[in-house]
């Protein structure tokens, strides 16, 4: 239950009402005061003071002064008239209630309107600020443009001046040269008269052409000085050729052409492959040092393949694979041996393993890949799995389209397939 504050005093003039409300010892803030045009409330829990005013007031201009344990209200009347009392006399509960709610609503609306107004003014201020900055920047830009323009004009004037000088100089030179020419022509004529006795037809001819040429061309002046100068120049160099080499790279392409990422991967794989030694060294202790080197074993295997000793070659490759199972060439060569030995399934296995190890596909391992495909294709055909064989041959052709042998073999297989399907 609120405690009503009743000790208020008021006095009035024609236009205003002065109300003083003692609030001894209570802290009052503006939030505790609620005022609309007909309703005034001061709520400092648990204390409460409210009035329904006799007549409407101008609540926007009215003020409340808080201090010294008193709230002093200055309420400006909407209509200048004397009030009979501060509050409305016969206010029943309902009316009170209604008025209260009304007051609250009105206050809400007012607050809303105020915020709206604030927003609008804020926006206008922002716009103004923006325009002001834009103007400033424009001015700055214009200033720089003007400076640049001035530079341009200055420079253009200088250029024109220089051009005029050039033209004047050229004209002068030309006049000078023509003068000299005339002099020299005179001299020549005199010389000609002297040489008339001797057979000097070539001389005459050349001197005449010289005169003609110089008179005709605007650009070339005296040919005489030209000839003199030529004699001072060294003779043309004796012809020679310098042979050059271009920078070699692992992949002979310029940076912009290479597929660097793939090539790097391939190189790395190769390097790793060479480094793996994954054999049980205990078993192989009785082998000689060189027999533990996969490359040496590969060479041995190749030699034995060449002599026709396929079983021995397979043994060599097997040992090499035990030592290092990441070298694709070992599997490739072993596949060839198996083909010769007609171990076709093993040949297929080995070619497949080789192809696996030959990724990523780069120009460097093209040859190896072609061989792997061809060997696997052959094995398939010998097992009479012609479609798989053809697939492999076509893959080989894709890598190396210019190989006639592969083309011929692929054709043969195609015929075979067509033949068998026709039979069935």
């Amino acid at each position: 239950m609120p405690v009503w504050l009743r000790e208020h005093r008021w006095r009035q003039t024609a236009s205003a009402v002065y109300l003083s409300l003692p609030v001894r010892g209570l802290r009052v803030t503006p939030a505790n005061i609620f005022c609309t045009d007909r309703y005034l409330k001061v709520s400092i829990p648990p204390f409460l003071f409210e009035t329904i005013l006799y007549a409407p007031i101008d609540d926007t201009n009215s003020t409340a002064k808080i201090g010294n344990g008193i709230i002093f209200f200055t309420l400006y009347k909407k209509e200048a008239a004397m009030w009979d009392s501060l509050t409305l006399a016969n206010a029943n509960k309902e009316k009170l209630q209604y008025l209260r709610e009304n007051a609250v609503l009105k206050a809400h609306e007012k607050a809303k309107e105020e915020t709206e107004a604030k927003k609008v003014t804020k926006q206008e201020h922002k716009k103004y600020a923006l325009e002001a900055t834009m103007k400033l920047e424009e001015a700055e830009r214009k200033r720089i443009e003007d400076l640049k323009e001035k530079e341009r004009q200055k420079v253009t004037k200088e250029l024109e001046l220089w051009k005029k000088q050039q033209d004047a100089a050229e004209k002068q030179k030309r006049v000078q040269k023509e003068g000299e020419l005339h002099q020299e022509v005179e001299q020549l004529k005199e010389k000609k008269k002297e040489k008339n006795n001797k057979a000097s037809i070539p001389n005459e001819g050349t001197s005449e052409t010289r005169i003609k040429a110089t008179k005709g061309c605007r650009g070339s002046y005296s040919m005489f000085s030209e000839n003199l100068k030529e004699e001072q120049l060294p003779a043309p160099r004796s012809a020679a050729t310098i042979k050059i080499n271009f920078t070699s790279r692992v992949f002979p392409t310029a940076l912009r052409e290479s597929r660097v990422a793939e090539e790097e991967e391939w190189l790395r794989k190769q390097a790793e492959a060479r480094r793996t030694i994954n054999a049980d060294l205990s078993e192989l202790e009785d082998l000689k040092e060189e027999e533990k080197n996969p490359d040496w074993l590969k060479d041995k295997g190749n030699k034995m393949f060449a002599t026709g000793n396929y079983l021995a070659a397979v043994n060599a490759y097997n040992l090499a694979v035990r030592l290092n199972n990441k070298l694709p060439l070992l599997y490739l060569n072993r596949a060839a041996c198996h083909l010769k030995l007609r171990n076709l399934h093993k040949a297929i296995e080995d070619s497949s393993k080789a192809l696996e190890l030959l990724t990523p596909p780069v120009p460097d391992n093209e040859n190896a890949r072609v061989k792997a495909y061809v060997r696997r294709g052959t094995a398939f055909c010998q097992l009479e799995l012609y479609t798989e064989g053809l697939q492999d041959y076509e893959a080989a052709l894709k890598i190396d389209p210019k190989n006639k042998n592969i083309e011929k073999d692929a054709e043969k297989i195609r015929h075979l397939i067509q033949g068998t399907t026709q039979d069935c």
Partner: protein
């Protein structure tokens, strides 16, 4: 780096839209005229002579040739004759007298494929020795020609028999400080840079900068070789200090990655050999200054002399176009005046200011 407007500014003075693909543009020495050459849509070569008048370029002459023209130089003619040497798409080297351009003064089918780059030395009153022209072509060879000798080059740098060829993208003369000495530098598309000494007819130095070399230039052709700038794809360029050659390490260099795209050309300012401009694939131009180190050479652990590279500072950069600027030429007569041609079929004349204060 100087601040704000104290830096050199690149001012656009004039520009001209063309109706053909522009491959090269060069100033005619001792004049305010410039030559543009390129390829017309109908597959023929065009050579146009413009004059700078007021703020505009006025077309004086247009010459059409059978094959599209790729590159040209005034480097090997005298100041009086001003003959222009061009390389075209068919591998022909021609020298034209612009007054009478119907028949070339010198013509040879020098290469089997397009001549990518051409340079001349010994003319224009610069340097000593016989005028010579060097051409680099897609067929992997670099040939040096003397206009007095018909049909055969005086030097031929070709790949060894059986070697797969790499395109030669750029050539430059250098070290022509007396009548005997001369050096040709060639850049290839696989990043090789090779330096050929024409006096001893041998390969003097080679290196590889990993990316294709678009342009090489010595800072001066007619002095003891001082600096060499090589630009490449992917926005990198290298400046080599050519005064000290170490027996194994070659020349010292500093490299800079400036633009995100290919750097198509580098050209040194004729009046100041430490300032050069690079043009990029994004249509931008960068103006650089090279600063020498306090000591240009030092001794390494074995006592051999090796060079010390200096440092680079960017003076200015400007973006003129959205297409690559493929050719650039400074005027030898007016400091700061330059012409650049881009693949957006425009030729622009620019003025770089405040170069005196650098």
């Amino acid at each position: 780096m100087a601040a704000g407007l104290d830096r050199p500014q690149v001012v656009s003075h004039a520009q001209q839209a063309l109706n053909y693909t522009l491959f090269d543009c060069k100033w005619v020495p001792r004049s305010a005229r410039l030559l543009c050459l390129g390829s017309a849509a109908r597959g023929s070569g065009l050579l146009q002579l413009y004059e700078l008048r007021g703020g505009r370029l006025a077309l004086l002459r247009e010459i059409e040739k059978a094959k599209p023209l790729k590159c040209g130089t005034f480097g090997a003619t005298s100041l009086q004759q001003r003959y222009f040497a061009t390389g075209d798409f068919g591998g022909n080297l021609n020298i034209w007298n612009l007054e009478a351009p119907e028949i070339p003064v010198y013509s040879v089918k020098g290469h089997k494929e397009i001549i990518n780059s051409i340079d001349g030395v010994g003319g224009l009153g610069i340097g000593e020795g016989a005028p010579e022209i060097v051409t680099g072509s897609r067929d992997g060879t670099v040939k040096v020609w003397d206009p007095r000798q018909k049909d055969t080059p005086v030097a031929n740098m070709e790949p060894v028999q059986g070697e797969s060829k790499r395109d030669c993208w750029t050539v430059a003369f250098g070290n022509a400080y007396n009548q005997e000495e001369r050096v040709v530098c060639a850049g290839y598309d696989n990043g090789d840079i090779k330096l050929f000494d024409l006096k001893t007819m041998s390969l003097r130095w080679e290196t590889n900068i990993k990316n294709g070399v678009c342009s090489v230039e010595f800072d001066r052709k007619d002095v003891n070789m001082n600096k060499l700038v090589a630009t490449s794809l992917e926005g990198k360029f290298h400046v080599f200090d050519m005064r000290t050659q170490h027996p194994t390490k070659g020349f010292a260099s500093v490299s800079e990655k400036a633009q995100k795209s290919t750097i198509w050309q580098v050209r040194h300012l004729p009046q100041n050999r430490d300032i050069f401009m690079t043009s990029g694939g994004a249509g931008s131009l960068h103006l650089w200054k090279y600063e020498y180190p306090s000591q240009r050479s030092k001794k390494d652990s074995e006592g051999a002399e090796m060079g010390v590279a200096g440092s680079l500072s960017l003076l200015q950069n400007v973006t003129l176009s959205t297409q690559p600027i493929s050719s650039l030429d400074w005027s030898p007569d007016k400091k700061g005046l330059c012409v650049c041609g881009a693949f957006d079929q425009t030729v622009r004349v620019l003025i770089v200011t405040k170069l005196n204060k650098i």
